[in-house]
Structure formats: structure tokens, C-alpha cells
Amino acid sequence: MQQAIEGSLAIARAVALCKPQVVAAYPITPQTHIVENIARLVADGVLDCNLVSVESEFSAASVVLGAAAAGSRTYTASASQGILLMSEVLYNIAGLRIPTVLTCANRAVSSPLSIWNDQQDSMAVRDAGWIQLYCADNQDAVDTTIQAFRIAERCELPVMVCVDGFTLTHTLEPMEIPEAEQVEHFLPPYHFSRSLDPQNPISVGTLVSPDLFSEARHSHHQALLNAEAEIISAAEDWAKISGRKSPGLLQADGPEGARIGILIMGSVYGTLADARSHYTDLEPVRLIKLRSFRPFPVKALQQACEGLDELIVLDRAMSPGSGGILGNEVRAALHQMEHLPRIHNFAIGLGGRDVPMDALPKLLAAIDQEQPEYFSVFDVVLDRLPEQDR
């Protein structure tokens, strides 16, 4: 049924439809409303689950790890410093190949302290071995949350659903909340192949000697690469049930013959898409919405960039001393293309800086130069900085 509700409430309802048996989370802005709403659904008897109050994000992730290893469907959510505090456990969850779902309400990382949205937090744990899916709007967040449980359980890998903090979590808009039967039809009950069982004891998380470590790492990498197929099939199967298409690994749209592309992860997509229709005098633009950052879909990305002369890659995070994170990965992924577009890399909307409609014409104007921009912060005001920092 279509309802006008806040993104966080919609995500909480989507989680409840997946019937997790254990939820553990510690509140942090802008994730708080998601967990508050789950707590309310539990209190109202809508969701029958063990809601564990913990004293930190480290514990939240640890509870989820243990409960999932013991065979429960689990869920947690966090953001920013919370994700960093979890990070040790996040690596463990992934390395142990434990299926769980985490919503990251994307937020900047201190210092300087900011409660506002960018994607530095999930980027900081990009190498932890989780699947990472980025949502462009709240409908996408609902549908991706439901798909995430199936992907996680089929791949025996954890899935991080990345949702822009405030911009999506705190936005009220109309969206379709699925019926319970639809989700039941899509998501079978959770059975973990290596579930802890006192009758058949196994050890989890033991020391791995140099003799086997490389093989463990290789198989983890391979499992992530193999997850591409499950991400695509989850999107397709859910589309058959819900009637709504999810982008799978990515989605490219725009007029045929467009020679300029813009690649983005998350909610800035909507503003750029709107701006593309609004400013009718601009050069045609192909927008590429990257949904799956891990696994990084090299082939699909090459196909999406086919025919482009210019590609603008927008990062919502950065690696100081290097530059754009997404930008560098895209450069590496495309370098074997026969007709390689010029790649311009900008960080935009850091720490909640608004990305207005006129960002589109400004971006298109910014690439009209001899050398492509290797990396810069797009909306920085250099006059505010001392000479040596400019």
C-alpha cells in the first residue's frame, strides 16, 4: 500500500517484514529513528523478535555476530562513529561469512564533528568484506532492505544497506510498503548451513595459520565476486513480486548518444535527474547510478560507460592524500576499455553541504578544460582558507 511516511519508518517496516529474530543496535544520529521505530513495532507486537539493548556499537555488532552464527536472522543499524567503533567486528562478521543485514544511515566522520550526510563512514569499512548497496531514494531503501536479507543468506555474506542520512532517513515522501505475503513469498525462513549446535559442536573464529590464510582470503574475495549474480537475481525476483524494478548492480539512463556521463552513489542521483529535465539547454547527460559498490561491478560499469567521451565521477567521501575513492576505483575498472572516457573526479556534498539543482550545469562547465580533473572538492570555497591550504 502506498503511504506518505518518513524514510526511517519505512526502513523499520521493511526490516519487520523480514522478521529478524534478533536486533541489536546502539542509537546514533541519523540512524536513531530506524531503531526507535523497530522498538515500537516490537512493543506493539507487530514484530516478534529479541531486541537487545547494548552499551556500544561494538557490542551491537558482536551480538549480531553471535546470534547469526547460532542460526538467527539478525539486523543492526548504525552510522559514522558507530560504524568505526564496530569496524573490528565488521571484519570478523564478514571473514566468518556470517549473513546479516546492517543499515548504514550515511554520515560524515569526525573530526571535524558533523552529524550530517556524506558517505565517509561506509567508505571507511569498504575493505571489511561486506556487500555494500547504495540507495537512491526511500523506495529503493525499502526494496533493497528486503533483498539484502535474501542476498546475505544465499551468499553467506553480510550486507550493508547504505542510505543517505537525513536526506533519505528523515525525509517523508510517498512510497509503497510491501505486503507481508509478498515478502514471505520472496524470502524463505533462515537456515544457516554452519549454525552453532551443541549436539554437533564446531569451532568458529579459530586461528588460521599462514598455511591456509591466503586461501581463506581468496575464497572470501571470490564469494564477493560471485555475489553479483545473487544481487541481480534478487532484484529481478523482487521486481516480479513487487512490480518495482531495482537497479541490480547499477542503472544507466539518459538520451541515446549522450557523450557525457555522471556516476553517483546514493540520493544525489534524484537531484541530478531532476536537474537534467529542468535545464533543457544542457548537453545530453547519461546518469549512472551505482548501487553495488562491493562487489564492484567492473564489467557492468564498462558497459554502462560505452560510448562516453567524458565521465564525471562524484564521490561523497574522500581519502586525504589520495583523492576520490570511487573515482580511483572507476579509473581502475575502466582502464582496459577500448574507448576510455576522460574521467573527472570530484567530491561533492561533504558533511551535509547541500547539492543544489545548479550543481549539474556547474559540473558540466567544470569539465570543459584541457586536462581532466584528477580530483578536487567541487564546492570548496578556497577564499576561506589560509594561503598554504588552498
Binding site: L168, P174, P356, M357
Partner: protein
């Protein structure tokens, strides 16, 4: 696409986000697309806060802040003295302000039209609490004719019942009477396509 952009200014504790959400939900009740979101600053009572509402006849994709609203709803007249509050208001833009004083006694930006409503005292009278948000929304809907106030009452009926709903309904009907109905109808501004 007809797109109406509204910015609501208030203070923490005045129900600013609630007002934005109610407006977007009421739009949805009448078959329109409503989008509401806050711009949180310091999260404490009394601090100036801003919320944004977009109403359109089709899906709204943009998620940027509203820099050039057609309408401002101001829950506390003292905010008119804070820099930035009336910034970007479109030429001919309209301001609805909660004040017991007349608009002539208040600072009105050039090229703007202001109407004042004693929303806090209306709320005090009907609810026993000086929460101005629903009275302002009722007056706003009456002035603009964006959609009938019944949509707002319907949204409140999802949340409240009995005496509370009855008092709110009375308050909405009373506040709508306090302003000239349809006066801002033509200012319902198409800022989209």
C-alpha cells in the same frame, strides 16, 4: 509539473518538523506528491530550526534544500530579525507569520506580502497549549487553496481520536476563518518545469 516549495521556520520544540510532515501528508491525502524534510541544526529547544516542504502533481526527484521558496511559514515573529530567514523568497513571495501584531507592525521584506495570525493564542484557546503549527497550516491552506483543510483533519484523524481530535478540528476550522480565503491562490508558484 506544478511544484510548490514552502519553507517553515520555527524553534526547537514548536513542532516544526511535524508541521512540514503534516503538510506533505495532507497533500498525499488529496492525491498529490508531498515531500518534507528537516534541516537540523543544534537539536535543542528554542534553537532556530528549518523544515522544507515540496508539493507537486507528480513524483519529486530533487532532494536539495529549498533556496527560493514561494512561501514562508514563520512560527515565531522574532525569527524575522534573524539573518537568512527570509532569504531567497521569490519576488511576490508570501509570508505567513505567527504573531499577535498586525503585519504592518512587522518587518516585511521588499516585494513580499505578509499576513499575521495569532496562532499561539488560537492554539491556547482550543488545545490549552500555545503550539502554533496546526493553526498556521490551516490558515496557509485557506489562503492558498492548495487543497481543502479537510485533508489536514483527515491526517490528524490517523493519529488522534476523541476529544483531542475534536479540539484540533475546531482549531483548524477556526484558524482557517481568520484569514482571507483564496487570497494567495495565484501565488501557488510553478518553480519546476
Amino acid at each position: 509539473m506544478t511544484l510548490t516549495e514552502i519553507r517553515i521556520h520555527g524553534r526547537g520544540g514548536q513542532g516544526n518538523v511535524v508541521a512540514a510532515n503534516l503538510l506533505a501528508m495532507s497533500a498525499f491525502e488529496t492525491g498529490r506528491y508531498g515531500q518534507a524534510f528537516p534541516n537540523f541544526g543544534a537539536e535543542r529547544r528554542g534553537a532556530p530550526v528549518v523544515a522544507f516542504v515540496r508539493i507537486a502533481d507528480q513524483t519529486i526527484q530533487r532532494r536539495c534544500q529549498i533556496q527560493t521558496p514561494a512561501f514562508l511559514i514563520i512560527q515565531d515573529e522574532a525569527l524575522l530579525h534573524i539573518p537568512g530567514v527570509t532569504d531567497g523568497l521569490l519576488p511576490g513571495g508570501k509570508i505567513l507569520v505567527n504573531s499577535s501584531r498586525s503585519a504592518a507592525e512587522l518587518p516585511v521584506p521588499e516585494e513580499a506580502e505578509m499576513i499575521s495570525l495569532s496562532a499561539s493564542s488560537i492554539a491556547k484557546q482550543y488545545l490549552g497549549r500555545p503550539v502554533p503549527n496546526t493553526a498556521l497550516l490551516a490558515a496557509f491552506l485557506s489562503l492558498t487553496g492548495l487543497f481543502p483543510i479537510d485533508a489536514l483533519i483527515k491526517v490528524l484523524a490517523h493519529k488522534f481520536s476523541g476529544e483531542i481530535l475534536e479540539h484540533n478540528t475546531q482549531l483548524i476550522q477556526a484558524a482557517a476563518q481568520e484569514v482571507p480565503a483564496g487570497k494567495w491562490q495565484e501565488a501557488v508558484h510553478a518553480t519546476g518545469y
